[in-house]
């Protein structure tokens, strides 16, 4: 029980310090976890509450992403949504996969790396756009919607990669049944749910948390991957009042994710399978992938290299999903390498976003 208090206290201090310095806190949570776990500052054990909270962090993240899956919004964006998303996906997956293969990873691990390359940190990108006051430009619109596309891809990846065990047909049947059940139940109860969620008391939060935990329980009982009912629940509930659910779930997601990052850090064995060269190579590849992807999108959608540089500069920072994917599906080496890449790119990403104009000037000097 003490470990979690130590971890949270640490993270609280780090969050305050990071905000002061205008830096994202997530890399620091991980670093703190690495230090605490490795150098035995305190003998931090995983298991028990810490592990449960970390798990819930991922679950609420998945639920939150499910809430974002509202097809109607994408239709209003039209083809640009799909074009930018597909370019982003293709470039990052390709560079990540082939780069990782070249560096000696197995095909599945290389795929995990490629998928991790895709994930831009929505939190950092959005915060940078607001802070640097970039919202007037068309590129900022492209960036913000690109983040949504990436979240969807991440969700699909987790959804499908987690369903490839055992007897596929029976599993798919169970999954289909659960998906149908959730959508129908939410549809039938939509008025009651909308009423509950508008209330000022404890009911909205209680309802949401209970629903999410129930989804996990159903998954465990039926032997289907947890990601499935949780994401589907998010998507179904997003048809009632997405803004309210986002508001309710955010505090839980934030706190539990912090625990996840810290304890994920403790699993990284610095003295074990770590190669600085590998980390640097992967990080450089990740940055290059975002730069190239950004350029491609900028030229395709805005017919401007400057726009492309802007998009690339604002999407360098990688995020939580990359770490989640690596933690769940990656080997120890992939997990640590991706975590290091995320730490490096998320800090670097803050600066590339801030100084994107200077970067553009460097790359294409204007007369």
């Amino acid at each position: 029980m003490d470990e979690i208090v130590v971890a949270l206290l640490c993270c609280l201090v780090l969050a305050l310090a990071a905000r002061r310095l205008s830096l994202p806190p997530v890399p620091f949570y991980i670093i703190a976890g690495v230090i605490a776990g490795n150098y035995g500052l305190t003998a931090l054990r995983t298991g028990g509450i810490a592990e449960y909270f970390s798990h819930l962090g991922l679950i609420f993240l998945l639920f939150y992403s499910g809430l974002e899956f509202r097809p109607q919004r994408f239709l209003s964006r039209g083809s640009s949504f799909v074009t930018s998303g597909v370019l982003d996906l293709a470039v990052n997956l390709a560079i990540g996969f082939f780069g990782a293969l070249a560096l000696g990873f197995s095909p599945f691990q290389a795929f995990v790396v490629g998928a991790a390359f895709l994930d831009t940190s929505s939190a950092i990108a959005v915060a940078s756009l607001i802070e640097n006051r970039k919202l007037a430009s068309r590129e900022s619109e492209t960036i913000v919607w690109l983040l949504i596309f990436e979240d969807l891809v991440m969700v699909f990846l987790i959804f499908f990669v987690s369903t490839d065990v055992g007897n596929p047909f029976f599993l798919l049947a169970k999954i289909a049944a659960v998906v149908l059940l959730i959508f129908v139940a939410v549809r039938l109860l939509s008025r009651q749910i909308a009423a509950v969620v508008q209330r000022d008391d404890d009911l909205p939060a209680l309802f949401t948390v209970t629903a999410v935990l129930a989804a996990i329980a159903v998954a465990a009982a039926l032997g289907i991957p947890e990601a499935v009912p949780v994401i589907v629940l998010g998507s179904a509930l997003s048809r009632t009042n997405p803004a309210a659910f986002e508001r309710i779930v955010t505090p839980f997601k934030d706190v539990f994710l912090v625990v996840f990052f810290f304890f994920f850090g403790t699993t990284i064995n610095l003295l074990g399978e770590i190669s600085i060269v590998l980390i640097l190579a992967v990080s450089l590849l990740a940055i290059a992938a975002k730069a190239i992807g950004g350029l491609a999108i900028g030229r395709a959608l805005h017919h401007s290299t400057a726009a492309g540089i802007e998009i690339g500069a604002n999407t360098v920072a990688h995020g939580e999903f990359a770490i989640a994917l690596a933690a769940i599906y990656g080997s120890g080496l992939v997990s640590s390498t991706v975590a290091a890449m995320v730490i490096i790119t998320s800090i670097l990403g803050v600066f590339t976003a801030r100084y994107s104009a200077s970067l553009a000037a460097l790359i294409r000097p204007r007369p």
Binding site: E68, R73, S76, S122, V126, L129, I130, R133, L135, A136, S137, S140, E141, V144, W145, L147, I148, A243
Partner: protein
Amino acid sequence: MSERSVELPGIGTKFELETENGDKVAIVFMNSGRNQIYIIEKGRDNPAAAELNAKEARRLGSILSGAIIEAEREAVEIAFSALSDLRIRVHTYVIPKKLAGRSIADLRIRTESGATIVAVSRKNVNVISPDPSHVFQEGDIVVAIGESDQLKAFETRILGP
């Protein structure tokens, strides 16, 4: 003049207005309650930006819609686009010592000046549409509405020199 609005997921909504002149103004209403305004001059690339909180945005909005701000004590003039000849002035005043203990009816504010008291604020407790029997205390802030000459009359005849 052309207009567009765009949802920015995770941030809020952006409204863009391009003026006849070719300048562009963009306003972003953020979910956090804060707002950003961008102005892009015609022919330029880089916008100037300002960030406003909700109160500042409302204030700017009321100025842009035609209200006038006076230097001393706060006043606002409201014009409705459908009733362009109708101009109502809304003005706040502080009740001086000499009016303490007297009521609205007693002072015959409406009869004497034509202005109407629509709200009284005392130590952050607000009474809207006060009764004519409402008794003033020194230091109360009242909100009076009327035409400019009615408010002038209120200032000279009721509040006194």
